[in-house]
Symmetry: C2
Subunit: 505 residues, 2 copies
């Protein structure tokens, strides 16, 4: 029979350990030392709480831990009993109760970040202002007001009406099969990509695709050629995945392969944006494309083709995809739906060469399962029923108008100061600054007035000779673009009056 005095605990309100922890150790010690025999019925938590002058919930908490660990057992209707201890199980617990230890040190040293963690933090602190604000001219922002909410809602309800528990089974590591079929069809028709649904992997974003690729194809420290200037998130993803980035300059034909070979002949992976180099806008020439493929074939290399913005060419048909010229399976082709709809929809795709299917199946099955099934199902209907093509056409007109308005406003207000590149694609206009003026200072100056215009320098791994601003136009109504250009012009005329000489009064 259990006698409460066997559990006379000296509880200490000032102890480092909370009361329930002290009670836990007190009872456990009594059990382990044999002071309380197995199968002994304990007093109620209420009685113990009174005896120890603590709240009942404190005792309950201690009991719960002891029960979870097998010291106590609660028997419905008859109370709580000590358990028969299995000696082999509990033998090694004895004699090292941490109550006998010194208190752990209480100093709060910061948790150390990894080198890559520190690098990301630094990049973020430098760019936060530019990353977080949805003001003009932040680039890459979709015209969210055009998101086809009514259609999407209807397709969503329809999908859910026909949803059964068997449709929740996800055993396709590359994603929802009907969506992959629609993506393959779309890419064959509109981008001349050679692919079947089997080769299509549904991903949540370009960064997601790059992380997957990096894990399968490179080891930490391996060199990867990357466009400079280039897409920041691609740089971050590849370097976070362990790649050593080798910056490669861009010329009029796009990625400069000769310079790449000089910079590091050992790279076996190249990241390129041939349709519309980000952010300069160069279209990779056909001859350069063929050279790239020849390099890949000769040197056993792979090319990541990020066709991020193929949908937004405003004049003529976009050049066909590099992937479509690849006869030996050396190109991994990426695209995203975030730019077309909204980043709220986290869906994109990766088209693999057939020889890599099994390795990526392994990766997807073991360490990654891909994005939400529900969104994939709705998007597949959206593509299949032609809404996607409709939406693209509508957006293309809207963006083309916004781009024209922005260009006209810049010409009208900033002639002689800012020069506009001749791109006819993409989601931003590149505004070149007069030689000698730092784009970073201009960006900082404009940010003080609430205008967001990232400097080209932020996209460069090595210094770029002439400064420019990235002026996104897709997410902002025309009158807002005009107003913001006028404000920008006022600010710049005040700061750099001498540079407006030519076009001035």
């Amino acid at each position: 029979m259990f006698v409460p005095s066997q559990l006379s605990l000296s509880l200490d309100n000032d102890s480092h350990h909370p009361l329930h922890v002290q009670i836990y150790f007190g009872i456990r010690d009594a059990i382990l030392s044999g002071r309380i025999a197995p199968q002994t019925k304990l007093p109620s938590t209420r009685a113990l709480a009174e005896m120890w002058s603590v709240s009942r919930s404190t005792v309950v908490l201690a009991f719960e831990n002891l029960t979870a660990e097998g010291y106590l057992q609660s028997q419905m209707g008859s109370g709580t009993f000590t358990c028969e201890l299995q000696p082999d199980r509990f033998l090694r617990v004895d004699g090292k109760l941490p109550t006998k230890k010194d208190l752990p040190p209480k100093d709060r040293r910061p948790i150390e970040l990894s080198k890559r963690g520190q690098q990301m933090l630094g990049q973020y602190q430098m760019r936060r202002q530019l990353v977080d604000q949805p003001h003009p001219f932040r680039p890459g922002v979709s015209a969210l007001e055009t998101f086809p909410i009514a259609i999407w809602r209807r397709l969503t309800s329809r999908r859910w009406r026909s949803m059964s528990s068997s449709s929740l089974v996800q055993n396709e590591p590359f994603g929802f099969r009907p969506l992959r079929e629609e993506i393959a069809r779309h890419l064959r028709v509109s981008r001349d990509v050679h692919c079947e649904a089997d080769q299509v992997v549904v991903v949540s974003s370009t960064q997601h695709a790059l992380a997957l690729i990096a894990q399968v194809l490179i080891d930490p420290g391996d060199p990867v050629w990357i466009e400079d200037p280039g897409y920041l998130r691609a740089q971050f993803s590849l370097s976070a995945a362990g790649a050593t980035l080798i910056p490669v300059p861009i010329d009029a034909e796009g990625f400069n392969l000769e310079a790449a070979r000089r910079a590091n002949p050992n790279a076996r992976l190249a990241y390129v944006t041939p349709s519309h180099q980000y952010p300069l806008g160069a279209v990779m020439s056909l001859s350069r494309r063929l050279e790239m493929l020849e390099w890949a074939n000769r040197e056993n290399g792979c090319i990541i083709e990020d066709d991020y913005i193929s949908e937004y060419r405003y004049a003529g048909r976009p050049s066909t995809a590099l992937q479509g010229l690849d006869e030996l399976g050396r190109v991994l082709y990426l695209g995203t739906f975030s730019k077309v709809f909204s980043p709220a929809l986290r869906l994109g795709y990766l088209v693999l060469p057939p020889s890599l299917l099994e390795a990526f199946q392994a990766e997807r099955s073991l360490v990654d399962r891909g994005p939400s099934y529900f969104d994939q199902a709705v998007l597949s209907d959206f593509l299949k029923e032609g809404y996607f093509d409709q939406h693209i056409r509508k957006m293309r007109t809207l963006y083309s108008d916004r781009r024209q308005t922005l260009q006209n406003a810049i010409k009208a207000n900033l002639e002689g100061f800012m020069e506009i590149g001749a791109n006819d694609a993409g989601m931003h206009v590149l505004g070149w600054l007069p030689p000698g003026i730092s784009d970073v200072s201009v960006t900082t100056l404009l940010a003080e007035h609430g205008i967001m215009a990232p400097p080209l320098s932020h996209y460069c791994l090595r210094p770029h000779e002439r400064g420019a601003l990235l002026l996104g136009f897709t997410g902002y109504a025309e009158e807002r673009l005009v107003r913001t250009v006028e404000l920008m012009s006022d600010i710049l005329r005040q700061e750099y009056p001498s540079r407006f000489g030519q076009a001035g009064e």
Copy 2:
């Protein structure tokens, strides 16, 4: 005036290059060499197709590439013209037309995988059979038939009815704020986790959370303590992210900290499953928990607490989270909704110590944006309106029954051969085999008869002394479990007749 003879091309049907590429180079060469002057009107694609005896679409394709690259310009209603070339832009194109080069080699060497890619492929090939098949006793499979489709459908429609374009803006890097508030509330109430919504990061899965953590806290090659045996996907994720895994044995109190220190005293990150060690089921004792925290405080370490299965304890209340004891912010706490609902819903969470918030904001903003907004919105309503708690209670009863049935069937059919551990939580039962019998051989034998029962060895980084099978019960109806145990018993009695002596006839 343009004379067609200036474009007399010698097209070669047997060339390595397709006809449209040969035409592209022919015209480009004529323009670059000055044989065709700028502003020259070209014949129609139809006329050229006839002249060269190729299909019109071949000429169109060549024209499109030339237009995209700025050599040709199409003027609405009046035809296609050569462009004024900007010398600086095209200067460097001359003289290196790849038509004059040797053909690239056509041998098809396999693309080389990275070491980690090869490792994943090997793991996958070894386990594919076990990963892909949804047969009993595959562990970790939810009872999909219980997914609350009707409620989910209703919440989805309601969300979409009130959806506006402004709700598509995603500027919270950690995820949809109302969902994060619900998760924080749920964890405070049911798991004694100390957290506010600010600390909650919505992720798509545990693997996703581990990849995020690894990037911020470790560099490639850094040692990380990991439970052995342990959760396979955690091993894969951490090692794919560059960690050097240090296997740490499990004893009756869980993760053996002393052995961990002996194995590698330099590790600063530990991955543990204290509530119910996966797959052995040990509950980490309170004293071990306190030792772990003391280690973290003293040595500037971090603990990843994966509370993957806290919801599925069938007797008593689950032990409280290790995170709840952490006063100095050393624990990163993980959980998932995939186990409760279905992997089709890709949602889970990571609770950060306050000191790491900024570093993870940097990572999420720069290289990762998190899962679908739409699912997050619906899940937040599901939690807020109490459906989640209801669902958990229902599932707990269902799983508890299935578990009891499985255990009874094993006792009735395999007494003396298979011994069952005493866990009262989780999604599988551990069936220990007689000493000397290899669990891998038993798994292979059962697989031949369509029964899927992964061997404990597959979860071990170093050899384990006694073999066992993981027998998942959550995804299968009771009669199916009984039938499968009976079949398993027949197979094993035939293969190992002498081992059934005791309980035999």
